[in-house]
Amino acid sequence: MRREGRGFLTIAHLTLHEALRRRILLAALIAGAAFLMLYGIGLFALVRDLGGNPKTTLLERRTALNMVTLAGLYAANLLVVLMSVLLPVDTLSGEIDSGVMQTLAVRPIRRRDIVLGKWLGHWVVMASYLALLFGGVLSLSAVIGHFTPPRVETGLPLVLLEGTVLLTISIAGGARLATVTNGMLAFGLFGLAFIANWMEQIGTALGNKAAQEIGTIVSLLMPSESLWQMAASQMQPAMLRMLGDSPFSPFSVASPAMIWWAAGYIVVVLAIGVRSFERRAL
């Protein structure tokens, strides 16, 4: 019996299957494992030092552990960003160039389902990688430093949202752009948001309105960095955040409306990607 409307899941299944066999995933796993090992060793040395020094107060100890953990989470965040962009960067453009897409697109499957299936397949891989890395950092902090940052349950979904934004841009861009151009665009936007966010932070600290506004506008155009800043600000105690003396303690954090903005952003970017793929000559 013929089953209608299963094309989307067939593509998602194939994408997942493909991603798991690719060298890029292996490289990402090796990089992730190396990073976690380094983090564990560094943390172990730090905890031994803190424990052996009778002068450190409990507050100092917690502040140090929180900063180290946030630094670890930030590095994990960067690996997730790389993964979100690079893993799917050629999934549409590469298959269009090679002609693989032709045998796929003549089948009784909607072009929309090809894009959405690829999106879902890659999202599952990205989310798993995020869970692995963030789970690793948090477990090492808990086991070695007996420390767990606050509000992880709010922070991690924000990081996942950030990864989803980048993944969506990378997939949608591939419907129209060549692989290298697409990768450049995604990382370019990420870099832009990164710089703009720092301008916003410094602008807020110095009371410079222009710098603040530039930061806000860019974060609407590309919400990735704002989402990370929101996540980082969630996963630290109010005390540390108020001191504002670490790169993970932003002066200015986007309002919760940014979550809705980012969700809408993902939907719109994906819809643009679907539309341009539907019109594309294959």
Binding site: S98, T103, R107, P108, A281
Partner: protein, 320 residues
């Protein structure tokens, strides 16, 4: 009246300023093996892609199996082997066919015997568990053919299926096309290899610069036998009798005198006649010799597809 499974009306495709297909109208009947013939760059691939819904036409329309191009339900009844057959190379040959079964809305288990039979048909059973990446070009083409035939399609589109293949690979394609024809499947074959088309197609369309310039039926070989005579001057009644047996295309009223012959002898005429049926050839000879007219030479030649191709394409059909 034959049932048309492909009906294209004024299809045109522009890529920016470049016109890939100028104005394509054609009909293909059910069960036909249709050859789409033209030099490289004539727009054959773009034409096939428009019919399959891979490329949207700039202008014009077409019906495939009675539905507008791109119709999803109809796509389940088509098979396609692209020119540069490339597949998900990390899949094994068997997995590739299982994946395409899923795309056709069937479970691989449901179609497992069909998949195994197809793998056997294209002689890939031994290599079915190897990744396609490790396949030779010929094997890749064979798994591509299997993929195209998987859904037991009503129309199979083959875009230059044998270009760059060894003779065995070509033979297999020819064989598969014959099989399809015997089963009543319509085949749309894009090719610039004349021998391949001549051996398999029942009808051909010549395409030049994105336009169909000539259509030719190869099945009944109508008017494709050419008879060239060198004879003494034909009286009018003999000329008329010969004219009833075939079509005199050259050497009628303005008969070309080929050499005046020896001094005093009557000049010889050169006459070209196209006949429907080779059986007419002896009748022509009898009509002339029976009246005592000297027949100096009689050449019978079937007009080959190559002759047609060169005639239709002119100098552009020849390699630069």
């Amino acid at each position: 009246m034959p049932e048309f499974v492909i009906e294209a009306r004024g299809l045109r495709k522009e890529f920016g300023a470049k016109v890939a297909v100028e104005d394509l109208s054609l009909t293909v009947s059910r069960g036909e093996v249709f050859g789409f013939l033209g030099p490289n760059g004539a727009g054959k691939t773009t034409a096939i892609k428009m019919l399959l819904g891979l490329v949207a036409p700039t202008w014009g329309s077409a019906d495939i199996l009675g539905a507008p191009i791109g119709d999803r339900a109809v796509r389940a009844r088509l098979g396609f082997l692209p020119e540069h057959f490339r597949f998900q190379e990390w899949l094994t040959g068997r997995e590739l066919l299982q994946f395409h079964a899923r795309l056709l809305g069937r479970s691989p288990r449901e179609w497992s015997s069909r998949i195994e039979a197809l793998l056997a048909r294209v002689d890939l059973l031994d290599a079915a568990s190897r990744p396609v990446r490790t396949y030779s070009k010929g094997m890749m083409q064979r798994v591509g053919l299997a993929q195209a035939l998987l859904g037991e399609p009503e129309i199979v589109f083959l875009d230059e299926p044998t270009s760059g293949l060894d003779p065995l690979g070509r033979l297999l394609v020819r064989d598969v096309i014959h099989d399809l024809r015997d089963r009543g499947t319509t085949v749309f074959l894009n090719s610039h290899l004349l021998g391949e088309v001549e051996a398999t197609c029942s009808r051909v369309a010549f395409v030049k610069a994105g336009r169909t310039v000539h259509e030719l039926s190869l099945a009944d070989e109508d008017g494709t036998v050419e008879v060239v005579l060198r004879v003494g001057t034909l009286p009018d009644d003999v000329r008329a009798a010969v004219g009833r047996l075939g079509r005199i295309v050259d050497g009628t009223a303005a008969a070309t005198a080929v050499g005046a012959g020896t001094h005093g002898a009557p000049p010889l005429e050169r006459i070209r006649i196209l006949v429907d049926d080779e059986g007419r050839v002896p009748e022509i000879a009898r009509a002339i010799v029976g009246r005592g007219i000297p027949l100096h030479e009689m050449k019978v030649a079937r007009k080959s597809l190559e002759d047609w191709f060169l005639d239709v394409m002119g100098d552009e059909g020849r390699p630069g």
